[in-house]
């Protein structure tokens, strides 16, 4: 048999591989920061979409408003779909907090409406992409962004940005011009909102279960952010915020196992701020936690219900520390200024839940909505 056809096939195959490799890996575009859809009452809207870098919460903003720095911009297609890309550059490095979080404000504008959303992201230098998770809670190796309905937990960002109609439609042409120039100012509202408690942890302890909750940094927690548009009454959720703030003691007093059941929420004292944004000549407000005082208080609460599909046994006198990647979401974690928001605490080196079965028999922990290795609240059973 003549060997030539095999060599031709081998060379041809190698040639194909050589040609196809650059197409697969040589992507010079900046990494994707945000993808989404803009909708108006009539369906998809070809809005001007801009991502701005929000200053860290502790940076003083100018009295009349600080002009926000756009880091990515695009025009959505006629179905409203858009993809924002941004490089990881010095401007972004300068805005990172200790955990590498930056806060991004995305504004979609048309001549008739506006929508805002926010999310905290960090640059994953290993995977060269934007991520909504800290390195220590990254579980699946993917650069991901949770949107509404695609995963458990507080949604990091809305999957669809719905345009809020302008209260001044007569000025449509001005807004169209302003939107084109993507001008956006932010001013920290000086209204004193005070300190509000946010649920970040929970220990459900049946009789003869002990436990301990530790919370030393906010950097693996996600808090829902409210938006309110001028001319409209109430707040609505529009994404999430994460920030790094140490403050708690290393250890909160452990709860001893005894004959009494206890259900405790752990509530962190958070400082909330409002921000006023003037974008394209329109005004909107955001509301979010910007600092943790370090305070933490346990409060008695009502227990959640076990879903027996998620029973998980713990041996006699055995302990389980829920840590590293699993999480719990509290849908009504806080309420302030008429906005009720959720919070997700991801277990990590900074957030630690421990249960101890102080009984000579095997007993169960139980997920409320999922396996206890995933996003769920956890209860212990007698």
């Amino acid at each position: 048999m003549n060997p030539r056809p095999r060599w031709i096939l081998l060379v041809a195959t190698f040639g194909l591989l050589t040609v196809s490799m650059p197409a697969a890996f040589a992507d010079d575009d900046p990494p994707v920061l945000w993808t989404g859809i803009v909708r108006s009452s009539g369906g998809g809207a070809p809005a001007e979409v801009t991502a701005y870098l929000q200053p860290p919460a502790d940076v003083a903003l100018e009295e009349q408003g600080t002009r926000l720095d756009p880091i990515a911009a695009v025009t959505a297609d006629f179905a409203g779909r858009f993809t924002l890309r941004s490089p990881y550059d010095d401007r972004i490095r300068a805005a990172e907090d200790r955990a590498g979080w930056i806060s991004v404000l995305v504004v979609a504008m048309t001549a008739d409406g506006m929508s805002m959303a926010t999310d905290s992201v960090r640059f994953d230098s290993v995977r060269h992409g934007w991520s909504t998770r800290t390195a220590e809670t990254e579980r699946d190796g993917t650069v991901s962004a949770k949107a509404t309905g695609t995963d458990a937990g507080v949604p990091d960002r809305p999957a669809v940005m719905t345009l809020h109609p302008s209260p001044a439609r007569a000025e449509g042409s001005f807004h169209a011009m302003a939107a084109k120039h993507r001008i956006c100012f932010m001013k920290k509202d000086t209204r004193e909102l005070g300190v509000t408690q946010v649920t970040v942890g929970e220990l459900d302890l049946a009789q003869h279960w002990g436990g301990q909750f530790n919370y030393v940094d906010t950097n693996t927690s996600t808090f829902e952010v409210g938006f309110r548009y001028e001319g409209e009454g109430g707040w609505s959720a529009g994404g999430s915020s994460s920030f790094s703030k140490e403050g708690g003691s290393e250890s909160i007093n452990p709860v001893a196992a005894d004959g009494y059941p206890r259900h405790l929420f752990y509530r962190a004292d958070m400082v909330f701020s409002t921000f006023k944004m003037d974008c394209g000549g329109r005004t909107a407000y955001s509301l979010k936690p910007t600092a943790w005082t370090g305070g933490m208080r346990p409060e008695m609460a009502s227990a959640a219900l076990c879903d027996r599909r998620y029973l998980t046994p713990v041996g006699p006198n055995g302990s389980f520390v829920r840590q590293d990647g699993s999480s719990q979401t509290f849908s009504g974690a806080f309420s302030i200024a008429g906005f009720g928001g959720g919070a997700t605490s991801t277990n990590s080196r900074s957030v630690r839940h421990e249960w101890k079965n102080s009984d000579p028999h095997t007993r169960n922990l139980c997920g409320v909505s999922n396996l206890i290795t995933r996003d769920t609240r956890v209860v212990s059973l007698p």
């Binding site: 990254e138 579980r139 699946d140 190796g141 993917t142 309905g149 695609t150 027996r308 599909r309 998620y310 029973l311 998980t312 046994p313 713990v314 041996g315 006699p316 006198n317 055995g318 302990s319 389980f320 520390v321 829920r322 840590q323 590293d324 990647g325 699993s326 277990n347 101890k356 102080s358 095997t362 922990l365 139980c366 997920g367 999922n370 396996l371 206890i372 290795t373 995933r374």
Partner: protein
């Protein structure tokens, strides 16, 4: 030439520490298990729930506890999740009664990622480890090393998993902690 091609075809990738090398398996890292035991008693610890992010099934070949010589691994079974009844943290016997576990040799495939309906959980393979200590004292392993094959590639990945055994049982009335308390 045949040998060279075979070597090139069966490549081995390794990772350490976070279990996030270039292989498609990710291991959930649910935390720590601390369990008082009798000397020589084999108990069950369920750990390293593996999920396949790739498009091809993965087959687990071998499991080790690291560092070696601390907690002794005497058997590995597996449990396919999700299932009614959830997973296992610890049980005082091995293999576990009343759980549909199978030996690793019989059940070792981590199913490839497939499109799922909203809210449908992704399939996972939980490692059910039979562990013991042959001496009194406090013994801790820090990582589970998993060797698996995808197609013609072999991967060795480590997941941070802390298992602490304290023996004998009655010497640790306050539970199993590092200082032997």
């Amino acid at each position: 030439v045949g040998v060279l091609l075979a070597v090139a075809a069966m490549t081995v990738s390794c990772s350490s520490g976070d279990g996030k090398a270039d292989g498609p398996l990710s291991g959930s890292q649910p935390g720590e298990v601390h369990q008082p035991v009798e000397v020589g008693q084999v108990v069950t610890v369920g750990y390293a729930e593996l999920v396949n992010e790739g498009k091809t099934d993965a087959r687990v070949e071998q499991v080790r506890l690291l560092p070696p010589g601390r907690v002794e691994l005497v058997g590995v079974e597996t449990l396919v999740l999700p299932r009614d009844g959830g997973g296992i943290i610890s049980l005082p016997e091995y293999p576990p009664r009343d759980y549909p576990t199978k030996p690793l040799l019989e059940q070792n495939v981590v199913a490839a990622k497939k499109p799922r309906a909203s809210g449908e959980p992704e399939p996972a393979l939980e490692l059910i480890l039979g562990v013991r200590t042959a001496r009194p004292g406090v013994f801790r392993s820090d990582e589970v090393e998993v060797t698996y094959v995808v197609g013609k590639r072999r991967f060795v990945e480590r997941y941070p998993v802390q298992i602490m055994l304290c023996a004998p049982f009655n010497a640790h009335p306050a539970g199993c902690v590092q200082n032997g308390g």
